[in-house]
């Protein structure tokens, strides 16, 4: 049976909360990268994502993907979840890339249902899928191995201004309150609904819920501001980013740097 828009919205809100809970649980665990300095992981993962983006060699992308998969397993991301994530990513990126097999001009290597498949189309689809899988796995490793507060503080190492880091940290914190509030509003509405609403009523309900959420967000913003003032906020932003590089962090940084440099060098040749 087709689910109503309320149920689908509820499912989406719950999925977001689940994801955040799962990454918090994993990042607090004991894995290969969990204890490494967040700045090293952030810069290391970004370098490898850029290396994957730059690569003009499919074999290198394949090697990079395998290496990243090993690191993901060492970071204690459950294998079943990893496989599921890859399978879904593969299914959808492949679906996007599928028409390219036929629409890309080039050397014919076969045909399906009268449509010619080209070598260039195959290579193009393979580039897209392997890049997306490798980059998404690196992103997954980053959030699964780093608590959000440490990751946000690590953004300072990318020279993100302190005021922006303050806003990111505030936003991330209140996303969960708003997710919970929205979830409660939709649950409350569903529990009071009997029968089907007319389409115009459904739309009005959805937009009014969004309006109420906006109103609550702004009331919350007022409260946050009052709290900041009452604690003596004078416009100076201080962040808990007292990171210290230990020998293990330097080692990890060296491995990330070597892997990224090798990937750049091989990928561009």
């Amino acid at each position: 049976m087709r689910r109503s828009f309320i149920e689908r919205t509820l499912a989406a809100l719950l999925r977001a909360m689940e994801h955040a809970a799962a990454s918090e649980r994993l990042s607090g665990g004991r894995g290969f990268l969990q204890s490494v300095d967040p700045r090293v992981k952030l810069l290391g993962c970004i370098s490898l994502i850029v290396a994957a983006a730059v690569s003009r060699r499919l074999t290198l992308l394949g090697v990079l993907f395998v290496a990243v998969a090993v690191v993901a397993l060492a970071t204690r991301i459950p294998a079943a979840q990893l496989l599921r994530a890859w399978a879904i990513l593969f299914a959808f990126t492949a679906a996007i890339a599928l028409p390219a097999l036929f629409t890309t001009p080039g050397d014919a290597i076969g045909s399906v249902a009268g449509l010619t498949i080209t070598l260039q189309g195959m290579r193009s689809a393979a580039f897209l899928v392997s890049r997306v899988e490798t980059s998404a796995t690196l992103g997954l490793i980053l959030v699964a191995s780093t608590p959000w507060s440490r990751l946000i503080a690590a953004l300072r190492s990318l020279h993100v201004p302190a005021a922006v880091v303050l806003i990111i940290s505030m936003t991330y914190r209140y996303i969960f309150l708003l997710l919970r509030t929205a979830e409660e509003m939709f649950t409350a509405r569903r529990s009071r609904s009997v029968g089907a609403l007319r389409p115009a009523e459904r739309r009005r309900m959805a937009t009014s819920t969004a309006g109420v959420l906006l109103g609550k967000s702004m009331t919350l913003a007022d409260g946050v501001y009052d709290a900041m003032r009452s604690r003596g906020f004078r416009g100076e932003v201080y962040l808990l980013d007292d990171f210290r590089m230990r020998s293990r962090d330097w080692g990890a940084a060296a491995v990330f740097a070597a892997a990224a440099a090798l990937a750049f060098w091989r990928g561009l040749r």
């Binding site: 689940e18 970004i46 979840q81 580039f127 992103g139 929205a182 389409p199 959805a206 906006l214």
Partner: protein, 387 residues
Amino acid sequence: MSVPSLCSLCLCGEFNENTSAPNTSPRPRLMYLTCHHMHIPDGYLSPSTCASLYAAAMPFWAMALRRLKRNLMSRFVPMVALVAAFSFVVMMFNLPLPGGTTGHATGVAIAAIVVGPWGAVAAISVALLIQALFFGDGGITAFGANSFNIAVVGALVAWVAYRLIAGNAPLTSRLRVVAAAVAGYLAINASALVAAIEFGIQPMLFHDATGAPLYAPYPLHIAVPAMMIGHLTFAGLAEAILSGGVVAYLQRADLRLLCGSAPDAADETASAAVMRPLWIGVAALMVLTPLGLLAAGRAWGEWSAADFADPAARAQIAAVSNNVLPGNVPAGLAHLSSIWTAPLRGYAPPLLQHAAIGYLLSAMFGVGVVVLATFALRLLATRERSQ
């Protein structure tokens, strides 16, 4: 059982993961990816395109940051943070669309209306960064591109459209609801168009030694229609419904949130004064109607099938078109012109023999119909509101 379904709206490669029921497993899953229309993942754009779009977004981020720093001691900072959080959450709303389908919106027009264009650039960029970094929605290398498309282009287009259409209409005016809906529709389509162009230029610029595209594989003539069809219909409609609906709700519940984007809004009592220049303009245009009689020949491009068959008219068309003229009546024009015959054809009712009087009567009739239709709509709207 989990049934993933492909996002039908775009080329983004992201997807909705439809589950038949919310997951109640005690073990949380580290897998959250959902389609937000045009959040470009890593791998679709070349590094140089990504770098260029980071550079393109930079001046707008700098402006937004300047505004933030200037207002660091005011409520502006928590407002931007909470609008970012609101935008993040509202992107998950399934909005019911006409025809029984549903769609997602970004809330970019609402953000622009509530915290202004620079606040919206900051808020939507922050929401996109959190999505990319923590939730895997949109790529990290593509964050500059996503911010440029949605936060910069979207917010600025929404702001300009809203201010232009709403003008200084009263805060409770229905015109503001229409303005917000149009702003949302235009913003999301402008963002989609820019994203489509970014996708479309990839195969032209980046390919390997065999000629295989290295990134998004579809050229402009496929990428632009593929993106725009979904956004001109479903995604645009979802954004219009959300933006218009939230502004309509705020008009009933919290007018103060609309004040920021309407510093010169007229009072409700002054609405007649607001409309006065419009009526004066319409009256002036009616008085000037006879000027149309002075124009010789036909307007360029407004030719009928009969004109292409008439030698004198053909000579005129050729003279104003660099002597480029089809050999015969174009088949499509001949076919389509037979489908509908206007009641006042050539701006002259058939019962009147005098062309000039017919022309003037047609003009007055046309304006009258528009004015009557406007009054009827206004009457309906007022009645609905009073109910």
